[in-house]
Symmetry: C2
Subunit: 432 residues, 2 copies
Amino acid sequence: MSHIDHTHDREASSWIDGADEHPDFPVQNLPLGIFSLGDGQRRVGTAIGDSILDLSGLSRDRLLPDSVRPALETGTLNALFALSSAERQELRHGVFASLTDRTSRVALLPHLYPSQHCTMHLPFTVGDYTDFYVGIHHATNIGRQFRPDNPLLPNYKYVPIGYHGRASSIRLSGTPVIRPKGQHKPSYSDLPGYGPTYRLDYELELGVWIAGENALGEPVPISKAGSRVGGLCLLNDWSARDLQAWEYQPLGPFLAKNFLTSVSPWVVTAEALAPFRIAQPARPEDDPAPLPYLFDATDQAEGAFALTLETWIATRKMREAGMPPHRLGTGPATSMYWTVAQMVTHHTANGCNLMPGDLLGTGTISTPDPSGLGSLMELSQGGKAPVTLPDGEERSFLEDGDELILSARAVRDGFRSIGFGLCSGVVEAART
Amino acid sequence: MSHIDHTHDREASSWIDGADEHPDFPVQNLPLGIFSLGDGQRRVGTAIGDSILDLSGLSRDRLLPDSVRPALETGTLNALFALSSAERQELRHGVFASLTDRTSRVALLPHLYPSQHCTMHLPFTVGDYTDFYVGIHHATNIGRQFRPDNPLLPNYKYVPIGYHGRASSIRLSGTPVIRPKGQHKPSYSDLPGYGPTYRLDYELELGVWIAGENALGEPVPISKAGSRVGGLCLLNDWSARDLQAWEYQPLGPFLAKNFLTSVSPWVVTAEALAPFRIAQPARPEDDPAPLPYLFDATDQAEGAFALTLETWIATRKMREAGMPPHRLGTGPATSMYWTVAQMVTHHTANGCNLMPGDLLGTGTISTPDPSGLGSLMELSQGGKAPVTLPDGEERSFLEDGDELILSARAVRDGFRSIGFGLCSGVVEAART
């Protein structure tokens, strides 16, 4: 069951200038992240309006619950997400109280910094990163390019398909996307070559930050899997389609993906998202029921998220002409065929251990129609139908200088909507 | 060029009782590992005969080079393998000098422990684990089961195929192998089910421990890739073949592999292996040459290892009857189609960053004939031809109570052979 409490009250107001009107970070959100100031020291912070509140500093001043103090001193969020959800809830309540009670202002002001003076860092030391494939419209759209009559493979509706990604190349939003080189074998050639990818793509995904730990050998039952979700972020699974096509048989994507994965800096916590839990869309009547280990009535009733996702592009020419980014698509996150809890339970069903700060990607989230496709591979139909941009430029795949921006908002009647911030990256030419 | 020096002298002798006769750990080896005593404190050690020399303790007593002292105090080998090969070479020379010069005996004795009183630990904090597929006979043997006329896929002789594995479930030799559960769809059934795997297998691999670091975006040229190899170990890529068959399309193996990966405790260093570098076997005339980014004449001349690998099994019944383990196979490591340097260069060819303590698996190493097959999937031809053991038991796949043991020895005329120790695990029944 969702835990909706006073911190979600739509009328709740912060004394921070502009926070109540902020599109992403009103006091109902309170996302967690890691930031530094001039001294380079990494601190835990929360975004409030256009400011960042230094929770590590507040904790040292004994203004936050004792239980979280050691975890706020480590320079990453791993230790905080090793604690219980109840302890993070207590932290949330403490921060919320301070930011809504004007009498806390004098005590808090020394710990408040304008966001633009702060440098954000990767929120976790990522032990392992797993990318799923639960966006059924994406799987269908891509599958159709190869198997028009039978786009989904036989296992898709039984198995939450996933594979391991690379942890060392996960970087924060804003990191340049250096066009990778690799082996590709164009269809017109008998022989492969090595050089810069000519089919660089993005993938719109949600990232799931894991909380808590299960010992190796101990699966997480579906009834408890929700508690392992610490929070969400945006994730761009940059992809080199030509490398992917040539390398992926028989063991899956490798160098096509592991040159960079970008995540948004703020962890929108499970606690903040509680009001936005909605029913998992009913499976079509012909679809098989989930196997019992993946089924839980509560998870079906509130295992999905009321999120609206958007993708934007700004080419170098557009930026130089002062044009705003162009929206490539928008769609809901409810096209995930499996819930996040099902992803966690399946991942651990063989006893695999998930650790605090592990990252799961959902896989690309697309719409069945062209309004919200999560990759250029889908938008341009594998390059056959280039997208025309407002300035007349065309794109089949990303070109050097292109900026790609992802955003997400949680929206539900009766609640103050909250946002994720942005996940962006500019493509740079391949290194010579 | 290999760096063979006085530490490889076959006549070199240690004053440690029994070390000169030890099959694995004479003074020419000096493998590195992490061990603890009763106090639980993790120390860097080297195996010498049946003893372990505490290098962390020696260093604190100022008996080792100053340059490595901080790295020996961290409880893992990551910091030591972040240093240069020259610094590890200096450490090797210091340890070798102490162990061959009897006048060091009094100073060293307080830091020598019988191996059986020591607990070994995972040598590195593994950031990322990648499993390759360079054993061409394994790839051919497995491919033939699915495509008898065309066992190798078109990319195999161009691309050192690899995929990401799970770092969190890497454990030391000796860790029980709990039979994993998962989804499988037997050929006689229309529907998948969830339960314990009935096709549990081992895979004989070498593990490559990475030294040094390349920044994200900076490929490692083949001429420098050899210096990124810190050392080797044995690796068992435990596999659930029924889970694998059902889940692996289109993104590769996932839960079939990530429940456990076992490694041997000792890192046989690149410095110790220098005399055992041999020419990479010539490619058959019809095979394509490696693309230029993967070709280096020196690497071809000495990029392979003169190693003999063995696999042994001891069932519960055999152990209860006092029978010794039965050798399932033996073969050379030269059936790797790609060198370790080619694996490193390919992995980083897109700018992917490899970090100290990252682990690469070679993929299963098999022979073209039945004498040295690296998995039961090959030995029993996918279960169709069970293996008969000395006590009359048959095995298509591993059964509860089976112990599986891997070993490796470096052997070359003119040099003292050295061993890797063992990588073993006993299968336990699935958890209820």
